[in-house]
Assembly symmetry: C2
Homo-oligomer: 369 residues x 2
């Protein structure tokens, strides 16, 4: 499978929901597969909080493939022998698209806290600009999980004629306080870290040394991505150090896992980006701009497919059921489906347990559902 990574720069402003503008702005994206002649085989993949445009395949020398490689590729659920798949790095994120560390055009210094607060709508608006620049005016499907699912819902509501199918996994129509609370831990942990220097850190330094505040916050995040059950399965009560029982900092395996994932994270992710992205999730509300969720969902014309996971503690299945029920109540039963996947894994099931929903996605894309 061939990977093409590209960057596109827009000189015309992006008008953000806050009233602020981003001008210029850039988006990095990756494509897999081949665009057919009438451009009818496009699938947009939207990524989650810490994801990137690198959704599938291996770069040269890379040991781990893109983050949804088990789902996207030749012959896979999102079959790159059939579809032209595009995944764009969200603006605000730190993998090449315009972010808080990009240069402010007037000062040629990083935006940092002068960067506008973005919303999911702003992120999608930037993506639409990329797609239009490629002369893609409608797509076969938009597929995303978690924060990617929020983007998928946003496509459905704000661009009703754009996608034939919207597939939103492990997400919500509005972020509940439980998820906001997890984000709060990382927000405070970052801000309190003296090395964050109130946002005026040296990006290279912080990447090399790793910001401990971000690491600790990320550990809390990892709890929310798993579940009591998946942790029992993965780690049990096994010790790393057999003699560590009476050592104050002797570790259980679950602790080593958290250290590994926590402390590695700041080497690849930027703390200002993290602050801005969790903000987009916290304030996401599919019914904003309407009086009710029903009124928002009433705009949808695409086929909306909701996939939830029974053990997801971050965005609970009930949150997807609410969307499904509301769609039914407003007479859109024929264009909505909800599949609940039986899973104990937790929120990350949408990344890990692809085998449980790949056939369903194939059927959707084959227009059987």
């Amino acid at each position: 499978m061939k990977i093409e990574t590209k960057k596109v720069t827009f000189d015309e402003p992006l008008y953000c929901e806050s009233g602020r503008i981003l001008q210029p702005f850039e988006v990095v994206y990756e494509t897999y597969g081949k665009l057919n002649e009438d451009k009818s085989n496009v699938i947009v993949i939207t990524h989650a909080l810490s994801g990137s445009h690198h959704a599938a395949g291996f770069y040269e020398g890379e040991r781990k493939p893109g983050w949804w490689d088990n789902f996207i590729g030749d012959g896979k659920a999102v079959d790159t022998t059939k579809y032209f798949v595009i995944c764009m790095n969200n603006i605000g994120s730190c993998f090449g698209s315009t972010s808080p560390l990009s240069s402010h055009p007037l000062t040629n210094t990083p935006y940092r806290f002068r960067f506008p607060v973005l919303t999911i709508s702003d992120i999608v608006k930037a993506q639409i600009r990329v797609l239009k620049s490629l002369d893609i005016n409608n797509v076969k499907a938009v597929i995303g999980g978690s924060m990617g699912g929020m983007q998928a819902l946003c496509y459905a509501i704000e661009y009703p004629d754009f996608a034939e199918h919207i597939i939103a996994l492990a997400t919500t129509a509005y972020t509940r306080p439980w998820a906001i609370a997890f984000n709060k831990v990382v927000t405070e942990a970052i801000r309190n870290d003296p090395e964050f220097k109130d946002g005026y850190y040296d990006p290279q330094d912080i990447k090399e040394n790793g910001l401990k505040g971000l690491a600790v916050g990320r550990m809390a995040g990892h709890i929310s991505y798993l579940s009591p059950h998946s942790m029992d399965e993965k780690f049990g009560r096994r010790y790393v150090d057999q003699d560590g029982l009476y050592e104050l900092f002797g570790r259980f395996e679950v602790e080593r896992y958290m250290e590994y994932n926590g402390y590695n994270f700041p080497h690849r992710f930027d703390p200002l980006s993290y602050l801005y992205i969790v903000k987009t999730m916290n304030i996401f509300n599919a019914s904003r701009g309407s009086d009710t969720l029903a009124q928002s969902l009433d705009k949808i014309k695409s086929k909306l497919h909701l996939i939830s996971f029974s053990g997801d503690l971050l965005f609970k299945p009930e949150e997807m059921v609410e969307i499904y029920d509301t769609m039914c109540e407003i007479g859109k039963k024929d264009i909505v489906t909800h599949k609940m996947i039986d899973s104990d894994y937790g929120h990350d099931a949408f990344l890990v347990e692809v085998d449980k929903f790949e056939d369903y996605v194939k059927d959707i894309l084959g227009n059987k559902i």
Copy 2:
């Protein structure tokens, strides 16, 4: 209701499970009600992680009463007109009993990391010493929730002739990785805070200024004490600042709650104590010293009453069911009861929703159950 706060010092060593000793050691405790002549009306209350010996009543000028005042008092479930109630500050904790900030007898400087890693058994052993010093050799009941419930189980297993009734609420026979993971966040947050100074902080300074690492870690803890549902009820998606939507640090109410509880905590709790106490919880395992949980539970002679809460995400009801089922399997069905309280509140229900189990406790103490 009269409160008596006392401190007792033991010159004879406390032999800890780790092989280390504490000598001398002190325990602060509080009593309510009156000890009857044959000393048959004693109830021991065991406290949780951040609790103290101040379980009920108001000190002079105090605005908030002891932590279980809705449960303990004249005419309440634990009726201080009938019972002599005693609650002891756990050793390792920071409310007056011997702790990592106590003086090491050889150097007259604080133990800090020279303090021995304690276990729940060690904590209970120290309590037994206090009770024996009062010539109390058996009690009507031991009652505790969460980490207090671990202590209650420990009384049941290690001191089978000591209590008539053991009431363990919202607890577990061994801490699962989910709970260990939450403790990991606070452990790392404390250790990474430069003001912690690798444990060599000035206790007065840190109490006045508040250790931010402990604050952030405590925020993660608060997530585990609540539930998605109770947070929805308490906070919804309400904003503190009406215009804060596009302010990066504009706050939701749930965020204000976490800030309030997080940042106030270090003014009343010591970080070294916190590290030592979460360690006791992490390594708690009611079956240690036996081959199986069944073998441990087989030692129990007291009536064991388990109270779990359906919405408890920290120590899930299944963990109590496991204890109940094991008791039944080993032929102890006649001395075990399990009551599942229907609750969406989360782990803290044992502190908050006393009205849901107070009658049950009254019946136990009245020997009706």
